[in-house]
Symmetry: C2
Subunit: 701 residues, 2 copies
Amino acid sequence: MDAVPYLAFVSALAGLGLAAFFYQDVKKASPGNDRMIFLMEEIQKGAKAFLKQEYTWVSGFAVVLAVVIGAVIDPLASLSYILGAVLSAGAGYAGMTVATMANARTTEAAKDGPGKALPIAFRGGAVMGFSVAGLALGGLMLVYILFVIVLESANAFEIVTAYGLGASTIALFSRVGGGIYTKAADVGADLVGKIEAGIPEDDPRNPATIADNVGDNVGDVAGMGADLFESYAGSIIAPISLVAFAIGLGADDIGTNALPLLMFPMLVAFIGMIASIIGSFLVKGGTSTDSKALSKALHLGTNVAMGLTVLGVIGGSLWLFGDSDAFANPIGLAISVIGGLIVGWALGKTAEYYTSDHFGPVKKIAQQAETGPATTVLGGISAGMVSVAASVILILIGVGVAFWGGEYAFADTGELSEIGGLYGIAVAAIGMLATTGVVVSVDAYGPIADNAGGIAEMAELDPSVREVTDALDSLGNTTAAVAKGFAVGSAALTALALFKSFEFAIKEASNGETVLNLNIGEVDVFIGLFLGAGLPFLFAALTIDAVGRAAQEMIEEVRRQFREIPGLREGKEGVIPDSARCVAISTTASLKEMVIPGALAVVVPLVVGFINVDALGGLLAGSLVTGFALAIFMANAGGAWDNAKKYIEAGAHGGKGSEPHKAAVVGDTVGDPFKDTSGPAMNILLKVMTIVSLVFASAFV
Amino acid sequence: MDAVPYLAFVSALAGLGLAAFFYQDVKKASPGNDRMIFLMEEIQKGAKAFLKQEYTWVSGFAVVLAVVIGAVIDPLASLSYILGAVLSAGAGYAGMTVATMANARTTEAAKDGPGKALPIAFRGGAVMGFSVAGLALGGLMLVYILFVIVLESANAFEIVTAYGLGASTIALFSRVGGGIYTKAADVGADLVGKIEAGIPEDDPRNPATIADNVGDNVGDVAGMGADLFESYAGSIIAPISLVAFAIGLGADDIGTNALPLLMFPMLVAFIGMIASIIGSFLVKGGTSTDSKALSKALHLGTNVAMGLTVLGVIGGSLWLFGDSDAFANPIGLAISVIGGLIVGWALGKTAEYYTSDHFGPVKKIAQQAETGPATTVLGGISAGMVSVAASVILILIGVGVAFWGGEYAFADTGELSEIGGLYGIAVAAIGMLATTGVVVSVDAYGPIADNAGGIAEMAELDPSVREVTDALDSLGNTTAAVAKGFAVGSAALTALALFKSFEFAIKEASNGETVLNLNIGEVDVFIGLFLGAGLPFLFAALTIDAVGRAAQEMIEEVRRQFREIPGLREGKEGVIPDSARCVAISTTASLKEMVIPGALAVVVPLVVGFINVDALGGLLAGSLVTGFALAIFMANAGGAWDNAKKYIEAGAHGGKGSEPHKAAVVGDTVGDPFKDTSGPAMNILLKVMTIVSLVFASAFV
């Protein structure tokens, strides 16, 4: 049993090895002609420039926080914090480097049909997927082995938690900054290009096209990767810290009951990693160009990985807990994990139901576009809001099953008996994220396919190539929904578990003197709850406004170039737009705009916590429930508008250029910051706030 | 001190006398020419037909609930419940009858300028204002005197609370049904009339114009009146029930410390009523047509009433609590009440800041209309969300001050000592609502002035008349913001106090055995909290969809009439539209659509409460904080869009017919169900849920 952290560490290395293998595999494919290589390099340059500046800025913030952590908590915790941040940044950088190499190669391979192009795009995404999973798990295991097992540090579990905070910091700024970047570029490119200048999407004459393609990478690859890095690491940390803080555990006194509970999360991660590696080898192109066959090929890896994980978790829990009388029903924790996995999948399916044009809600919005933009907007808002209710009920089923599984498993576990159900909830979140490697691979596949289409367009290749990349791209839309379901579901469960750890940590830090009073009937808790409910609204408003301002700058620059560069609009031979300037504008604007919303997430809980910890408890709970609802609302409303527009573009209700299409474009534009900026960043906001509170718990009392 | 309930009762009768006096005053004014009388009668007929059908339907629901209350709680409580419902309905009916008489009379008086028209519109509104305040307070005092003082009933305080539930039931359905009605008619009239047929607002050719004007009355007069009736009664009940449930008080054992606490809310209501009566006499027309002078004239009544209330409350609290050693600092409770009044006023001002075109946010939205409907929609959403954060902070200041005032006042009050702060919060809500009589008068003035303009247009009077009514109408916009601030602020405070009473009631009903565990760290409370956060989103979606469906029916009917009635569109002499049919459509559709959202508010807490009371506690808290945020967001975003459109119509950014104007119309249409249906109904949803839980508390355990 003691070997589990080492096993998990080795599996993480195996994941990284796979990433390296896929990297070589992608690299040896041809990137196409000179024009394609030029475009690829432009995108790569823009993306790297953004990441470099972003990380520079964030590192300033991270250093400040690291110093505070070192001074207030433990210098070793600040090391662990920095490691979490650096590895998350590294995963983002590595994944994006490969994604921006794989795009042109996918385009080139698309000349030979989707069977060739699909594996390249997938493997390009898989470098991201396994970099994220491998580095997140590897780093965490390193911290665990070093500080808990080898050094038996006094604040071992605070140090482990600090790793999660490092990951959260990067995730928050990557999601916010990346989200602002991608939407500013997208809106700028579309509004002036498609609407004012009347040129098609991804046209090489449009100065913002490169920035738009860079945006796909910094938002959907690097931002999403950092998000999943944080979610994945956080989900493993949450049950470990719950056990540790519940019984005031030091690294030197882990008892027989606590040990398997500490090992189980790592065991599940190990099983999921191995299953993901196996699954990812099964994604092969085949010869069919049929969209169902392609979709099946792409999802085979995920489905196999999940199936293997379920089997592995059943075996693993029997092995870990089967010998101990303290755990009456070892299968209970497997039920929690599998329950989490199923609910995460169901959340993804719910998101798909509300956002895919195969189902009623999106068709209804497209129908509402017949009566203009206002009804389109209202339709999306309503669909998003209904999806909140559906998702809340699913989450609560997940919470209920996981809680029951935990209670069922625990019997005579001494002091630990009281946390059985909560432990079940915490490991349910790992159930959702155990297969992060392959899930992120599929998710990162999306922007690569999207970019490949952009390159095909800009390099003015044969339209048949674009058809192939479009077919690949359309697969990406539904895969993103599943990953989002896992991310948002696990965020709720992880935050709930961390919240409970926070409660224990306060008690422990004050030697049992300060017992957190979280009774909602108390006025300070209620004030916190109210404040917590208001915060996600403020955060959403700030990020929406940020996108608006950044997009405005972009619009003005694109207009200026069309006005001032002779022959650009007409597409005169040899006249090229100043793309670099658009990239620079997006970069500067998004970095400037991410500061306030990002800082809010860290500063507010600290300020409230130092004033009143009970109010902080209320604040965290209020933000969690309202933020979760708002995140689902924004993500699904945005997705629904996007696909209603695409549904009309595919020919429904008059098709492209019709009045309903114009109305749908309005809905889509409203949804852009919803689904790609505010919505995804909201999950991380919630977790950053909780984990900041947890790390600083001892300082509050 | 024992005389207070009687004094309050007499002051309520005085309020009703004033309403009767103003009724005579309005009635004797001339309603104008035959055409105007015809239009007035059409609007009156439509409004009465709607109310009749609405009350018929709601009475079915109320009878069922009354039977349940009688069987489960106390037959006398069901009597009190019915009284609350009947009086609320009566106030709505009376107020609307006069409002629909005052409209044409205001138009007629407008021929002689605003100095003549203003008092008629105000006094028409004042019939509503004092009917609401007089009946709400009079009925409540009757219940209190009868069951607490005279009969000393066993369940006296449950019976008093049931009165509030009766008022809530009517308010919920009036707000939802009226909100759906008014927006369906408005959207239907605008979309086909203004946009498709290209005819101006309130044009007599438009078949939906009468329905639109009826809608103003059923939504903004009857709906708003029922809302304030419920808020006002609820705010007086909340501190009384808090005291009663906190110490498990029966009517026969009111001690010396409890007595002044029971009397104080009624004393504040008495003071506010007298102050409102005095204030309302001060609203006089004058001769100036300047908008500032008019605004000053209209608001003089409210300002004087508030000033008098402040003075009266200081004197009253010194008188009530000054003699008792148990209350160390009698002034403390005056501070709570005055704090509530100031915060309510500040909430109104905040709403005004975010929704009036005199300030930055609306101007910014108008600016964003330059780049199309999408940026307009995003601008409004963002402004609404920021206003949530501002309002939350204000409410929390109010809660803090009121809590401190309560704690400061209470010293040696025995068992009651623990509720000092909460009692302060409860009476702060009365501070916001003590001047309901005059506040509602000013609020009901708005739709009367609006209707007067409609009649001027439809009766094809001289444009100068319309100019006068427009000037009067524009005053109404800001007055509505203040009333909304009071309504929403008091809802939060009242719900918080009722929530606490619920906690005590559970304890009392189980003889202290079941102590509500409201610790957010417990999983059942957390599940409730989550569910509670999701519910307002579902409620908003249902009401938005309801408006959409009802508007669709209206649109089709208006189109049909333009198509099938020869000469209608061209305005041929003697050709009139079938307005009655549009009225019938709005009526049927809105009544059908109000059932599900309305029932949700009553059924969900009952179901959850019978399963698990701790989860119900979480549910109430979650709904309260999220619903409050959503209500503010929707109300202010909607108001901001509305006024951004009006700002552009007044000439900014190209004025009427320009592209920015079209974009602003989209924003306004999105905002219509936000501000007039979902937003205002949300407050009542929260209170209905809390009060249902409180009334049924004894049945849950």
